[in-house]
């Protein structure tokens, strides 16, 4: 059992888990189960990030996505008591959906086939590297502007939700 085979085994396990839970997000009828599947997807993605040599992004993925965003999703779902989806009617719509899906798969497949993909070796994306990239002059402006954007979204959400300030 060399480190490479261990790497491959762990990667394929988490990749399969991510795919299965991602399909589960869409295929489940109960929306709470969809939310749980999404949480599993986030955690699998975090594991794959860790495998790639960036534990910082792995931890951040869990903290931000699985730990904060999905909690709020679950809040809304649980408070609104969203019921299980009944199957809709419309067989014509289903045919259109299948056609569009095939077109999407063909487009994505053609892009991927022509891109010349190679296996990524592990790269070093630890905290220092990420911080260096984030704060170098190339991206620093976009980074700070994004934080102002999020602040604007926050204020907007509070304004929309509160009846009297």
């Amino acid at each position: 059992m060399t480190p490479e085979t261990l790497d491959a085994v762990v990667f394929y396990f988490f990749a399969a888990l991510a795919l299965v839970s991602a399909v589960g997000v869409v295929a489940q009828r109960n929306p709470i189960y969809s939310a749980f599947s999404l949480i599993v997807t986030m955690c699998s993605l975090s594991a794959i990030f860790g495998l790639f040599g960036s534990p910082f992004i792995a931890a951040l993925q869990v903290v931000v996505y699985a730990g904060a965003i999905m909690v709020l999703f679950l809040f809304v779902l649980m408070l609104l008591n969203v019921k299980t989806d009944e199957p809709h009617e419309g067989r014509g719509l289903r045919a259109v959906a299948v056609v569009l899906a095939v077109v999407l798969v063909a487009q994505v497949g053609s892009v991927l086939a022509g891109a010349g993909l190679r296996l990524a070796g592990s790269f070093d994306a630890g905290t220092r590297q990420v911080a260096r990239v984030l704060f170098e002059p190339r991206f620093a402006y976009a980074f700070e502007a994004t934080s102002v954007l999020i602040l604007a979204a926050l204020v907007g959400a509070v304004l929309l939700a509160k009846k009297d300030l």
Binding site: M1, I32, F36, I39, S46, P55, F56, A58, A59, L60, V62, V63, A66, G67, A68, V71, L74, F75, M78, L79, G126, T127
Partner: protein, 355 residues
């Protein structure tokens, strides 16, 4: 035995020892909390089962084991059963990055591959130790949300949502208090933060000239994270029946209680590592290392015990926060103060480094 298998065996033994210690301390804590609380309230506490009531945890365990396991009608059975499992998973995962001693040197009379081997008394010396702690604490919220929702009971739902809202509000303050520690030590590793406090009692992170203000935010935020008084409204008997664990009985209830106590132990262990010098001795050079490195473990255990006693002491002393007071305190007081603390520490660090 190849080195990989050796490492694996040592890691598994470390995990088993940790789980055993955590479970033992959990059952001891149930007894000690009741006794200490009782003494603080001028009464006696459990003293009938066995000498000084020491067999009380055994009696509690037997009672819980034989109770009937009820799944309420209309409850979501899968989520109902999974919720305590998620809680306990997050609680146990967090202890993996806590260094509970320095380096253990195994004695020479053991078989060849073990003799005089130095073992790091930390399960995983992660590059992003503190961030991992944060991530796992965030996952612990799910156990409570799931427990509250799955029981098909509006009181548990409200209790679960309240508790999780409280937890992730105070997670913010917790993370902000960690930032100053990371700035001070220059690394995310908990081992490095412990090492930055070397040099005796006056260099621990609890003093104002080290990172003392971060300690204040940390202790408040962790008490809220662990749902302890004065932040234990989610379990308040007078408010919401028993909060999110109302409908749980027998072993599932025991699991939820175990998750809460193990979270408390982890919070104490992390606090002891980050602020009280971890396994370092308060008097440099005295009882520091030697004896196979077990003195470090002794100091760490003492500090964790002190922290746990502090949590119990707090419970016996302070009344409970009302929920809106709790939330406004977390968002309007703690987060701004912690942010100001970060700015001050950053300014001081820059000024100090520029000298």
């Amino acid at each position: 035995m190849s080195p990989l298998v050796q490492e694996l065996v040592i890691a598994i033994v470390k995990v088993l020892v940790l789980i055993g210690v955590l479970l033992g301390v959990f059952s001891g804590m149930t007894y000690i909390e009741r006794r200490v609380l009782a003494f603080m309230q001028f009464r006696l506490g459990p003293n009938r089962t066995g000498p000084f009531g020491l067999l009380q945890p055994v009696a509690d365990g037997i009672k819980l084991f034989f109770k009937e396991e009820v799944i309420p009608k209309g409850a979501n059975a899968w989520v109902f059963v999974a919720a305590p499992a998620v809680s306990i998973l997050a609680a146990f995962l967090a202890i993996a990055v806590v260094p509970w001693g320095g380096t253990l040197t195994l004695p020479g009379f053991l078989p060849a591959w073990l003799a005089d081997r130095r073992i790091d008394l930390q399960l995983a010396n992660l590059d992003v130790g503190v961030l991992y702690l944060f991530a796992v604490t965030s996952l612990g919220v799910y156990g409570i949300v799931m427990a509250g929702w799955a029981a098909n009971n509006k009181y548990t739902l409200i209790g679960g949502l309240r508790s999780s809202a409280q937890m992730f509000s105070y997670e913010l303050a917790l993370g902000l208090s960690f930032v100053t520690l990371i700035m001070g030590a220059g690394s995310f590793r908990i081992g490095d933060i412990v090492a930055s406090q070397a040099g005796g009692f006056w260099r621990w992170n609890i003093w104002p000239w080290e990172q003392g203000f971060a300690f204040l935010f940390y202790i408040v935020a962790q008490t809220a994270e662990v749902n302890r008084t004065p932040f234990d409204l989610p379990e308040a008997e007078t408010e919401l029946v028993a909060g999110f664990h109302t409908e749980y009985s027998s072993m599932r209830f025991a699991l939820l209680q175990m998750a809460e106590y193990v979270n408390m132990i982890t919070a104490s262990a992390v606090g002891a590592s980050l602020f009280f010098g971890g396994w370092l001795s308060p008097f440099p050079g005295v009882l520091d290392s030697g004896f196979y490195g077990l003195f470090g473990v002794m100091w760490f255990v003492l500090k964790v015990a002190g922290f746990l006693f502090f949590f119990i002491w707090l419970r016996g002393t302070v009344p409970r926060f009302r929920y809106d007071q709790l939330m406004s305190f977390g968002w309007k007081v703690l987060v701004p103060l912690a942010t100001i603390n970060i700015m001050l520490v950053a300014a001081c660090t820059l000024w100090w480094n520029a000298k």
